[in-house]
Symmetry: C2
Subunit: 438 residues, 2 copies
């Protein structure tokens, strides 16, 4: 039986899982791949750990570059993470004619164009199923399973940390900061949680899915990113009363004027399946013109779930390595992206969506009329409205309004006018809403 | 640009959708496939329809065999359905060295072994993504996306007609027979609904998924199949009160003694995502040892959703046609199934699951003690129990019991003993339950 010789860069959480699953399921994997997938060399800063995990079965080194240049290695698996060493290693591996498998979403979303160009020039594969939504085979679904479709939009809960936090905020009525501490204690959030809670990690994954869905190059600087740190549990409660759940949603859509790519807290109708994805789980809904909506759900992170995707990529490499580049699945789904690369990415002010607004108003007659006039003047239709009674001793009450779809800059102008009303106290809270039904 | 020349057999619902989507999305599909997918010839009994739908752009014929032997055709798409002509056409196409794409679940589940053997001998591809769960790319997920995993079980709502009927029975509290009529009027059920409501269609799809998940040959005669025609809406209501939904579930599991393959009405906890798949939609949960549970959801039937999968298969054929058979994805996931083909398929009496029991009992002291003793004597633990008050003027009441997991033959023996109790009136209703959480 043929053998695919793998050099593994990094044997931490995902690397350790990859080694463990490849070893444990060796028989099934070989019988399916028609080829043995064999880790022949491992690089890690922690040599002792690498030796312990590989049990003396594999050559270990702390020199990453000795693997990417090793003539005995067919494919390099990059699980180091970050931008510098990972990028150097991948480009050097490509230069030496090696195929690459990576779980590095940040690197692909920001330096993917350069990496794919180098890989194309050398005729090697760069596979990254593990970079988006962990163990869910969403890259394969988008690039192959839905190949017949014009993709209309993709919406995903693609960060487990924030979904865990939002689930806890809802279930227990706690504030963001209280739940964050709990998430850190339980290992669902890192000591510095910025990448997750500010939506940057989700934005990386969304950029990759958008590029594949619409055949556009990576342009991470144009992704709109808003995290959950300012989200109040009061708004989660009000949304619930109106039949919605609040999720950190990555949304990319091909609309008439261009492509929207945005990550922000989003109200979703509670009857949608994706609104019921809780805890650290991930899910992605893809809307194709032929197939309609399809949904993919599973573990978005973790040692063995992510390893599951790394190994699926290795089997793809084993199968495709002997084919010409024209017979392979293209990096970003399209063989030639020049036909679409000039499609504009819309700034957030130009996107269209529905909105949830919450404001604090004097409990006096006429306030609601003033607010609704401002919206009506700007052709913003109201879908639902809810006025909360003032608490004992208070003279102000919360007003919540759900609107129909409008352009964001129009909504921002309306909000500015509402905030200028004497009866309105402080800023208007604005959250975006997606029905996800067409 | 290269071109893949397609001969289409049958231009009804799915064939018409395939033609329409290939025409409408020609540009996207070519840019992704690196090759043009071109229907060059269409066969249909209804020549007029074929001419009308193809608008004079394509040669049409009513002679299926003239396409499968045509040297100008690279791949035959079989959308005739049924066993006789479809099977003859596929075998003849293979004999003539053509690749085959089919949506024919009945044929693959019953004659797949013969078809795959013939295809292997001739070195051609037989692809059948559209045969299971319509537009959901579940075959690709199972064969490729989850290739790293030992598959532990697969559970699917894979028949839209029955899921529509069950959803209506629950929402409106109606009887099966009342809803069936409505489903027929709305086009969700056929005039002769036997294949759907008796679970046979679901059983075909489940057999195919089981073969791929566990690397076993087709053995449809060993699939246990129980439909929804005898299901009473009372049991749907009681299940609901206990926190469960009733779904027609296809369940295949690799347990210690062998493989279970069974289709039957099943109680599923309402908090599972799959319990909330309603109407005519389909969903499949796959449990892999590395990835954990993943779920795939979408339209399980219909013209363009099914066409989406047919075309995905055509693109795969375009990509794989120049590779050796060893570099292709194997028909049933494994290159060599001899290592697993002797794994026994368990008869229904040997499967293990939890149960819902409903019985009608005299409203007298001591009855419950007698029933629980019978269960206890057979080591069947009770998970929950519910006794309904007798209606006005009645002397009997419904007792509902949820049990922990036991072997079916043990449960059957207990039921026989319960039915023999003088205080129990009539047969005990038995439904199977699956927690789907590990």
């Amino acid at each position: 039986m043929k053998s695919l010789k793998v050099g593994l860069l990094g044997i931490g959480t995902v690397g350790g899982g990859t080694y463990a699953v490849l070893t444990r399921n060796q028989e099934e994997i070989s019988r399916r791949a028609g080829c043995k997938i064999e880790i022949v060399k491992v690089a890690d800063r922690n040599l002792e750990l690498a030796k312990k995990l590989t049990n003396g079965q594999v050559e270990v080194t702390d020199d990453v570059m000795s693997i990417v240049t090793d003539p005995n290695v067919d494919v390099v698996v990059e699980l180091i993470g970050g931008y510098t060493l990972a990028k150097d290693a991948i480009l050097k591996a490509i230069e030496h004619g090696k195929h690459v498998v990576t779980a590095n979403k940040a690197l692909i979303a920001t330096h993917g164009n350069e990496i794919f160009a180098a890989a194309k020039a050398k005729g090697v594969i760069v596979a990254f199923e593990a970079a988006v939504a962990g163990g869910i085979p969403i890259i394969k679904a988008l690039r192959e399973g839905l190949v017949a479709n014009k993709i209309e939009w993709i919406a995903g809960i693609i960060n487990g940390t924030t979904n865990f936090i939002l689930t806890e905020m809802r279930d227990k009525g706690l504030a963001f900061s209280d739940v964050l501490g709990e998430a850190q204690r339980l290992g669902y959030a890192e000591a510095d949680p910025t990448f997750d809670v500010e939506g940057i990690d989700a934005a990386h994954k969304l950029m990759i899915m958008s590029a594949i869905g619409f055949g556009i190059p990576m342009q991470f600087d144009k992704v709109y990113t808003e995290g959950i740190t300012k989200l109040e549990s009061k708004d989660i409660r009000y949304a619930e009363e109106l039949g919605y759940r609040v999720k950190l949603l990555g949304m990319t859509k091909h609309s008439a004027n261009g492509i929207e790519i945005r990550v922000h807290p989003t109200l979703i109708p509670e009857k949608r399946l994706i609104a019921n994805v809780n805890g650290a789980m991930n899910a992605v809904v893809v809307k194709g013109d032929a197939v309609g909506p399809t949904l993919y759900y599973g573990a978005g992170a973790g040692s063995e779930p992510t390893a599951s995707s790394v190994i699926a990529d290795l089997v793809d490499v084993a199968r495709m390595q002997n084919t010409s580049i024209q017979d392979r699945v293209p990096y970003l789904a399209y063989h030639d992206i020049s036909a679409t690369e000039n499609t504009p990415i819309l700034p957030i002010s130009e996107i269209s969506t529905a909105y949830y607004l919450r404001m604090r108003a004097s409990d006096k007659p006429g306030v609601l009329a003033e607010v609704t006039k401002i919206l009506g003047d700007r052709q913003i239709s109201i879908d639902a409205m809810m006025q909360k009674e003032p608490q004992d001793g208070e003279t102000e009450a919360d007003i919540v309004i759900l609107t129909h779809i409008t352009v964001e800059k129009n909504m921002n102008a309306a909000i500015q006018a509402i905030e200028a009303l004497p009866a309105i106290d402080g800023a208007v809270v604005k959250l975006r809403m997606e029905e996800l039904n067409k």
